[in-house]
Subunit: 409 residues, 4 copies
């Protein structure tokens, strides 16, 4: 056994699936907060890849602060227009000079943002309906050293190649997802995937809230419709109904409980107050956004579970411990659940200590609810071994984030 | 009894005080995230008061998105300088025209920010070391109506004067605070209060993390020292030691457990790498900030407890339900604990439903851990009555926020 | 004869062509100041056309204040990169609400700027190497009225349809151009036209200064070369030589005087200090720009002649009298010279009076140098008739500006 | 005699004082364009002094591009308010790192702007009614060398200590001022001096246009009144009349010609359309501004005279030849006129050559109109000697600019 400080314990609560009331939320990729998360993370990935290409390693950066200032729009059946453009400010730190080279960090950031926006919110005309600006300063003096020569652990402290934690921080992960969680997550993904592909009237700003009381699940969807593809109020009503049916169908794949789906409940057809947009995102009309205000690293907001306040998106995946531990703890939780039988609910928490190698957390505690008939003692060693193995491979998280394989929001 | 949907249940976990590991964090008022929270909230308060003065009611606004872009500084013993100014962008929505009047929302916002910054971070020269800019758009079409004629509940739905919820959202509050929580919160408050008053070398950017394992508490303080008042490395070391002693003293007032206090542990005196600043905040050197990324509404970050992702600061206190319910649930929790004997831990959650009067949450659930020898049944009615009473007075929260009596971070 | 206050007088100086020393300058379309002029004017044209399309008339606007903040670049033979993007801020006034309609003035402005930049400086990647932002306020209270109901002359004051002057201002025009002026103007146009079409290494930032002392003309060209098309220093030297030969050839078409052409004289090949750029404009590297700082309305800077300080580009062509009179006086001067024989040099000045119909200037004075053997008295009436005719058609200037047929810089 | 290329010749026109029509304009210190000139110049002075203090010489900088975006105001008798703040962006180049030192160029710039604005437009609340932002890049690669080791002339080229010209540029100066010019200049200075000191209702945004036709002079004043000090329309009318009387009195000190003074002629009392402001500048309400768009280096706009397009304000006074030669040529003209009798009008033009010591212009030509009875030949040598002497002392201009002793607008 390694000397990692791993603890496996019973959790002191019911499995979330068994709690009486459960609330789950997901902000879709076109929600203003998610736009900021997505831009921040795509900028981070682009910077990391470019640094590695140019100098062989990911230099210091941290771009976890994108601010979106909403625009103003005048949607209209058949196609309206953005009246005042959205303003998006990419904020952060990046290394711009290294070893005699200049690195065009701001140009890289702008390009990444542009490509991300054009792919994610295609209806939004870059540079006309959204202005993207950037302010990347040089890094913080205090923390830069951790990235420098001391950025890699010495033999005494751990294996060469494992960076030191840059902060005292923690991450938390959960598995398995509850039915309600899976419904909420899957519905958004598939609405923005297969559904939108066939029904271009659906914009990417889809916000879903799931609420379960006992065995009754309410799924409330706020879906921004794109005016160009909606001819009139009847068409709008049909679009809303299609979304409702689709989400109900998705839900039925995940649960046998009763599910009620509500779409755009704030609409008032008589007042002509409906959720119609030009671009498919409420950022066009008064909804500001910023990084870290929406989904947690597992794509959900889950008040029934411990959540980290950490804004994962945009952070440097090499040594930003809050980011790494949030992603890693989720990976660990999923690995345990898929490999070990008899687990009903599981929470992994990783707490770092500034200056220690990141594969050696200050504490890794795993809290478990077993299914009836399974004793924690029966699976404890197995769990610990998986945690140990995953911690040893912590740098794999970094690699996959850089390659854009892991979602952070 | 009212018809409010109040549930009182046992909590399905141990009291946090009794859990094996506990982590608590507080970002002091000078931390970049807290600066944003504070500016956003002071802007909101100023707007609300000005609206009431001018038109008799708090018009639509929401200023919960302040972005801070860090500067660059060159601190030096005896006094260095800010090399690149901090940039702070106040973002949000506000009503600028009402009933034939123009309301100078941006001027009001700038003034509030200026006054707040000058009071909170006096070492920071406004307009020279920090540039404050503002972008306040007009409100979102979708939600403005809730503020309009329909903004007050009809007789059928509830008492006149109670606004409707503007969103489906929830708030969560806890009481009593654990020893570790009290130590962390109190240490920051008193460092920035009585200690700083006597020791001007301590900047307002104090970040405190408390960790308890069993009966051992570690308190780690990162305290920005102000260079003007630190003559040399010896003076710095003395300052650090004074902070350590002060915090140890504060801790001893809250606990009999063993407490270890660590201050500025990342310092390396040989490298000359210490936490010295010109202005007393790390915002001067590479640490960006934004609203809602730091402390929750009760002033703490508590991974052992349910937390709301809601950015409370800057939101409109009249009908922004996420703000109101986070503050109210904390108030309720504190009221219950102070009035009812035998409660060891208590969590209050309030879930709104969009369009319903805010004094009638969709559900108000109270989870309780009683002390040994007390049965929940014994106190259930008493608790419910307090919850009911506090909900009935929900608009009191609004009033106190507007008057600046409640802290949001 | 009309009652317009037209005066034709002898000029109290020699024809510029006959003066001993003459200096002429033209900043090419890719010069930072010209970029600002061009963006401002294209925004103005787009707004005017859009207003006319939507509401039938050009509403109030004035976009004559574009500010360019230079970037930083790292050019390299074969292709370098922009390290810090250029920032361009479109500033001005525009009507955003009219008669119940919203008009997306900022979106229109951004689109016009984008299209203009992509056409004029194709090497510059919009949104990556240049950030374009916009701040268009509503109009000035004081002057808006002139555009309102009183915007058209009443019967008493002049023909319906002729706007009132919005200011006391003046315009000045000259004809014919001297040889040196024609060389400078033509060389830039053709370098950025036929030459660049065949030689993609030449960027649009071409600045030409012509100096004539007696019969010796020196033409000094600063030509930004585009690194992607320049393989090495030899290629650069060849490019410079090609430009020199081309300009010498152009010059020989306009004069029999001796002409010396100098290209990129500040180069120092040994130091490796040459005029190599990534994008073809010095805006990429430290040269800021703004509207009205470069060429006058006739495309030249001519210290030997009276010049108006007026920033013509970006102004509203309907009633901005400084713009109209600068363009019109040039038109008049050219018309007179092309229709009347015997004129060696001619200057037209138009002075407006605020509140008067713009076809009735306070004074229109024409100063003439006739060729030997021609008496001013012989041509005076003819000149006056042309001036009168052109003034009567003043709104034709407006129309042609809106249609993009007249250059303003 | 020196080897400077000085030419003294008769001017080929009448003295301006003797021309039939003369137009003169001055934008007062509170005009939006002048605000930009003033801020740019005060920033330049502060940078130059700070560089000299810190490193012994004025490092590279150029801050000649300030952009003002107008605000929106709601003036009211007795005191209104600024509704949308003015935005002012300081743009330019500055050295931020030199010889291991960091130099807080942006902080210096912001401080200089603040102090300048608080002194010049005291009614304007800094940071509330005006947001001042700054973007100072590092210098242009091409030109930085001239400032470097080669920045001082070698023995071969000229006296040690005389910088090389950084550009091919020219300056032009005139003397003596005509009566109309003196009236316009003096009236603005004294309105903003002694008059405003006694009559706080007069704002600093005073714009004066003088027009002389033969012996009739019209002086048109647009004077921004400050609402706090104007109780009602009667008080406004009185204020206007006081300004009129004061200007008439000033005029009478400079001329025996007939003078008509008009103040705020665009007012329409019946419509309530008057020139009332909150802050004393039209920048509060729709009038944008930028550097170099207003007064020339001698404080006037004089279409009857040659003018340089050069934006003098904000440029580096050490080697920015356009700035130096505009100021120097004016100094020379004034020196000649004060020392030599018999000159009715005189124009000095200085043309630089890039790379040559600035005390050796490519050509310095002086065009003179003598009074009746004086022959140019009689004074030619005297004039040339003065020009030679003043050129030799060219660095005195730099020194006086740095010390803030010379006005640039």
């Amino acid at each position: 056994m390694s000397e990692r400080n791993i603890r496996v314990e019973p959790i002191d609560r019911q499995a979330v699936e068994d709690q009486e009331v459960e609330i789950v939320e997901r902000k879709g990729i076109g929600h203003p907060d998610s736009i900021c998360d997505g831009v921040a993370e795509s900028v981070a990935g682009a910077l990391a890849r470019e640094y590695i290409d140019r100098v062989g390693e990911a230099l210091h950066f941290n771009t976890d602060e994108t601010q979106l200032v909403a625009g103003e729009a005048a949607p209209a059946f058949g196609g309206g227009e953005v009246v005042d453009p959205i303003y998006l400010l990419i904020v952060g730190r990046a290394t711009k000079r290294y070893d005699g080279q200049t690195i065009p960090a701001e140009t890289i950031a702008l390009r990444a943002a542009r490509e991300y926006l054009e792919e994610t919110i295609p209806q939004l005309e870059f540079g006309e309906e959204i202005v993207v600006d950037v302010k990347l300063g040089e890094g913080s003096g205090d923390l830069q050293e951790v990235f420098g020569e001391d950025g890699e652990g010495s033999d005494a402290d751990g294996p060469v190649g494992v960076p030191m934690a840059n902060d005292t921080s923690f991450g938390v992960g959960h598995a398995p997802l509850t039915e309600t969680e899976r419904i909420v997550h899957d519905a958004e993904s598939r609405l923005n995937g297969e559904f939108a592909a066939e029904n271009p009237y659906l914009g990417p700003d889809v916000k879903i809230m799931g609420k379960r009381e006992g065995d009754e699940i309410d799924v409330t969807v706020a879906a921004a419709m794109i005016d160009e593809y909606i001819a009139d109020l009847d068409a709008y009503a049909e679009a809303v109904e299609s979304v409702r049916e689709f989400v109900a169908e998705v839900a039925s794949e995940h649960t046998d409980r009763d599910v009620d789906v509500h779409v755009n409940t704030a609409d008032d057809y008589e007042d002509g107050s409906i959720y119609l947009t030009v671009t498919g995102t409420s950022a066009e009309q008064g909804d500001d956004g910023s990084v870290g205000r929406g989904n947690r690293a597992n794509g959900l907001i889950t008040p029934n579970r411990s959540m980290s306040m950490e804004a994962t998106s945009g952070k440097n995946p090499v040594n930003h411990i809050g980011k790494i531990y949030n992603l890693l703890s989720t990976e660990i939780a999923e690995a345990v659940v898929s490999e070990v039988d008899g687990i009903r609910d599981l929470r992994v928490r990783l707490l770092s200590q500034i200056g220690r190698p990141i594969d050696q957390p200050h504490v890794a505690d795993v809290h478990v609810v077993t299914v009836d008939g399974v004793d924690l003692a029966d699976v404890e060693d197995e769990i610990e071994a998986i945690v140990d193995r995953e911690l040893a491979d912590v740098t794999g998280i970094t690699r996959r984030v850089i390659d854009g394989e892991l979602s952070t929001f």
